[in-house]
Structure formats: structure tokens, C-alpha cells
Amino acid sequence: MTVVPAQQSGGAGGTSGLYDVIELILDRGLVIDAFVRVSLVGIEILKIDVRVVVASVDTYLRFAEACNRLDLEAGPHKNPGLPDLVGEVTESGARGKSKGALSGAAETISDAFSQARDEGRSKEKEEARPRARRSTSSRSRKEEQE
């Protein structure tokens, strides 16, 4: 029988869900010394999805601008959150904004993996285990489209 993983029910079904739990799959879970593990060369890229604020001149200037544009009257006297409608609109919008703001956010799993592949390519010689070879790029491209 063929199972299409993306259609599985459960918490981490879709691709965006996978991206959020990927560190658990790669970094947590049972490890048994007697078994070998596939090389994770290139997967460090996952840590670059930085959503917290990084102190830098870029951030300072951006926050100064953002404060400048902020509707100060709307803030303190109202619920600090945004009205529902605005909240929904900014949910996707905010991601774009914060992406520019926060350093080098890798937004999608395919981004992460294409970069991971590039790293893998450059680090290929370092890969120790024979079965840790990267896939051919044509195959990986196809998977990104899935």
C-alpha cells in the first residue's frame, strides 16, 4: 500500500508542520549506541530560522523606523493585541516583515534543504559514512515540488 505522508492525520501532517517539528525528529528521539546514524552534514542550516531579535545596527534602525510609524494612540489605550481582522491580515504579513528584519530567516523547508544541499555539496569530502551520500539534485528538485 502506498501512503502519502503529507496526508497523514495528526499534529505534524503538512509540510509547514514538518518544518516546525524537524528539530525534534533530528535532535530528539531515542539514540541507541549499537546503531549508526545517517550523517546530518548541512542540516545546521535549520538553526538559522531566527525569530528572536538580534541586537545589531540594522535592528536598531529598523525598530526606530517602526516606532516612528507606529500609531501610538492606538497602542497603550487599547488592548495591546490587534483587532481580529488585522491580526489575520498581519499573520502572513508579519512573517514577511520579520523576515527582512531578523537575520536570514530560512522560511520554508525547501529553502532549508536547498541550502543544506549546497552545504552538503561543499562539505561532501567531509562526509564519513558511505551511505551518507547526498541525493542527485534532479531527484531532490522533484521532491521539493511534491
Partner: protein
Amino acid sequence: MTTYIYGIAAATHPALPEGMGGIGEPARKIRVVRQGNLAAIVSDSPEDLRPKRRDLLAHQSVLDEAGASGAVLPMRFGSLADDDEAVVAVLAELADHYEERLRALDGRAEYNVKAAHDEQAVLHQVLAENPELRAMVENNRRAGGGNYEQKLQLGEQVTNAVRAREVSDGIEVRRALEPCAEAVSEGPEGSGWLANVSFLVRRETADGFVAAVEELRKSQPHLELRVHGPLPPYSFVDEGPAQQADAANSTTGVR
């Protein structure tokens, strides 16, 4: 033929996903290797296995499927044994330990919560709480946005205030959800979120946990929360990294 291991369950598990598609292209079929009271969920491994999206999803899906009807100890992605006999040997050697972990995790699932700030909302909040910053903003505005130095100065102070909020909100997320969980495990260091925490939740109280998350969303609208669960208990297979929620509560609930 190399054997890929997805997880370990009790031999009495009612519905191991035998025959389901696993890793590889084409998908390798799931098999079950039994030894004593334990069963390992395995498949053949492709020669060129890498942590690719398709394979990560397959690993997760097989464990999701198996975990839906009974306790499973999820392996970290990419565990390989020389053959099925090597898997049998490990099950035999460490049977007591795995059986104990399966009992401890029976009827429980992991919920992972990640939090980030909604930037507009947190800026509003920081300015509302800090009259000095607010005055700086108003000064800069009167000066047409302020010069470079003024912008840097304002920006630095706002950044510091937002970062302080990240820390306190990270603690708040954990504190708010901890009472609904049996154990708590911090996600990998430096994950880039202000909170990245996994909670071990009894399945019968999962509704309560989800309700607590909704409550947090309402009370802290400047937080963008992402919740994933129920998941296989990746963060709780070993007792090491996870802390008992009870123990944490009995101190201050904050660390």
C-alpha cells in the same frame, strides 16, 4: 541489507503499521521485528539515505500511525542497524529499560509549542510600558524621524526592551502551560524562538492543554504561538533532558 529503525513498541501493541510505506523512493515497506515483549518498527534502508523532506515525513508518519493506537518510543531520524538480527540483539539486551519507558509514556503524547513576538504588538506594548521610550519616539517624530544618532539610540533601547520581553514571555509561556503537562523539555538551544518547549501530555487531558494554549493566545495577543501535537514523545524517550513538571511547579514553576 541495512535495517532502518523507526521506533520501539510493546509486542502487545494492537496495530503496528506493518506494510505501510516508509522511507525511500519507492517507499520501503514497514516490517516488525519481535523479541520477547518488544517489537521494533523497521524497514529496509535505501543506500543513499539522507535527511530529506520526504524521508523525514515518512519517519514522522510511521511513528504517528503507530503512536495513535499504543505507546511507541520514537527513534531519532536516521538510525541504522546492519540487519534485523542486530535489532533483535539490542531489544534483548535493553529490554527492561525499554519496557519501563513504554509503560511511563503509555497514553501520553508530546506537544511542542513555539512562540515569537508579533512585532507591531510588542512594540506597542514596550512603548506603552515605558514613558521614556515613548518620549524619545515623540521627540524623533517632531524632528522628522530624528538623525542617525537619535535613531540608533532609540532603536537600541527599544531592541533591549523587546529582548527583555522575549525572555519574560518565554518564561510565561512555560509557566502558563506547565500545569497541564506531566513533564517539560526545552527545545534545542538557540532555536531562534523566544520559547520552544515540549510538553508531555496525557491523551485524556489533551483538550485541557489545547484550551490552555488558547487561553494564552487570548491573554497574550502579542505572542504568535505555534503548537504541534499530539506527536510521538521524541523529547521524553530518555529521562535525562526532560524535567518533571511537578518538580518544576513545586519550586517556583520558573527557571
